[in-house]
Symmetry: C2
Subunit: 290 residues, 2 copies
């Protein structure tokens, strides 16, 4: 199959590596010539160009640009395409993308591979990044069934864990388990920054251990990514934040009221619920708990 | 030196293993005969008994019972002691312990080893558990300097990272970096449990990855431990929770106002601040971030 990839970063590059390996012809487009050259050198693409018209004859095109660039990319891209070309994206929010792109190109299927590393860029691309990981597709009522089936078949060959749902359900789910944790975790760091007693600050920094490290990890991550989650998933993230604030307020109230068995009950429930959100395929051993 | 340990669990047992290894005579007391036998078999103690009078001639005694049992233990113990015996505890909150025990026994020094594993009990005890880890002592104005110095010397021989501060500063610091994260993390799990759409719940559970796993870890931990933090460190934990709620409300307000650069600014600041709270000695590599 002739496959196009726009955006040759971690996700686009890793898709290219696997698809080339499977024998497909992979055409890559990047804004930077150096990235095109590195993608060819790393065998992530067969051919690469800064000119999007390279993809004119591609059968399936993966849009791997940042969320904010998808619409402009599609507007330029579709001037060159044949009507049966299948477009799909890899953005981490689906409703706004699907709402904007579907009217422009009916054979569009929203997608979200739940895989990645802390690193970015073509040099971070790696084979088998998606194998065994969830990959969500969010077709809508107007999505041509044959476009969806072609894409599903292609993704199955990457050995992904395929899921399918509405764009809104996707965005609600990732608000809970991906976007809310970033805001919760960032608030923890921001709160510790409010301590004004220098002796307490110094002590807190020296005594902080794995509990703080893990709870603060995603709040100390990429700020552009966090902003993007908030900007593109605003309604669902706000919904999750309101739910979170309610739970936090319940805990604060119980501590104020010295309702210790109430606190313990909540913690018994959260201990019971947590394993349902842990994928065995995604499990390093939990580190020691001081 | 003749050293007593009351409570032969993870902390008491691990202290015993190291102190025996250093050539001290270690006398252990547990409520359960089996624990005494296992502690002897594991060479965590030289002698052990369920009768606390075993410790009558000890020079330094580590109180390694749960926080709620320390006062009753001391009240019983001091009936048997010589006045120069040094008492110290290993509880994770210091103000209430120091306030209750100091009037009963002037040669008491509050202590808190910041070490542990997820496992508990004498079988979890291990050598060198404290080496390289922070160990906080919280003497007060009336603490005899020679008692403090004897204890400091003993702890130095365990190669701990020794810190010293007031009980209140200790409790404020651990409220930020240890107790607040538990409540923040538990609220995240509790919030996800509020989702009522079964399709979204199922999807969230399937898509949750390392971000959710890490942010929720301490909130899915031991409920008794979480309750104890709240109960014994109530004023400082509430202070931290109020500060946290303020930061969370700021983030919610910025998302409501669509102040995306404001969100990004906060995340730039939290990314900068986080490394100050990470101890290099305590660092596994951060896991991949999907």
């Amino acid at each position: 199959m002739k496959i196009g990839i726009v955006g040759l970063g971690l996700i686009g590059g890793s898709l290219g590596l696997d698809l080339q390996q499977l024998g497909h012809q992979v055409l890559g487009v990047s804004r930077r010539t150096e990235t095109c050259e590195r993608a060819i050198a790393r065998r992530a693409v067969t051919q690469a160009s800064c000119d999007i018209s390279l993809l004119a004859t591609a059968e399936v095109i993966f849009l791997c640009t940042p969320l904010g660039a998808i619409q402009a990319t599609v507007e330029e891209l579709i001037l060159h395409l044949q009507p049966e070309t299948i477009l799909t994206d890899v953005g981490s929010v689906k409703t706004p993308v699907v709402e904007k792109i579907t009217p422009l190109w009916p054979s569009f299927v929203g997608g979200h591979p739940m895989a990645g590393t802390a690193a970015t860029g073509i040099e971070a691309a790696q084979p088998q990044l998606f194998a065994g990981r969830p990959y969500v597709l969010t077709p809508v009522a107007t999505t041509p069934p044959e476009a969806l089936e072609t894409l599903r078949e292609l993704l199955r060959s990457l050995e992904v864990q395929l899921h399918q749902c509405s764009p809104q359900d996707h965005d609600r789910a990732v608000a809970w388990i991906s976007h809310l944790p970033v805001m919760v975790s960032a608030s923890l760091i921001a709160a510790c920054m409010r301590e004004t007693d220098p002796a307490v600050v110094e002590l807190a920094q020296k005594l902080a251990s794995s509990g703080f490290r893990d709870t603060s990890r995603v709040g100390g991550g990429n700020p552009e990514l966090g902003r993007m989650m908030a900007e593109f998933n605003q309604p669902q993230l706000l919904r999750s934040l309101q739910g979170y604030r309610h739970c936090l307020d319940q805990i604060i109230a119980k501590i104020e009221q010295q309702d210790w068995s109430g606190i313990e009950q909540i913690l018994v429930q959260t201990r019971q619920a947590r394993p349902q959100f842990l994928n065995p395929s995604d499990q390093p051993q939990d580190p020691p708990t001081p």
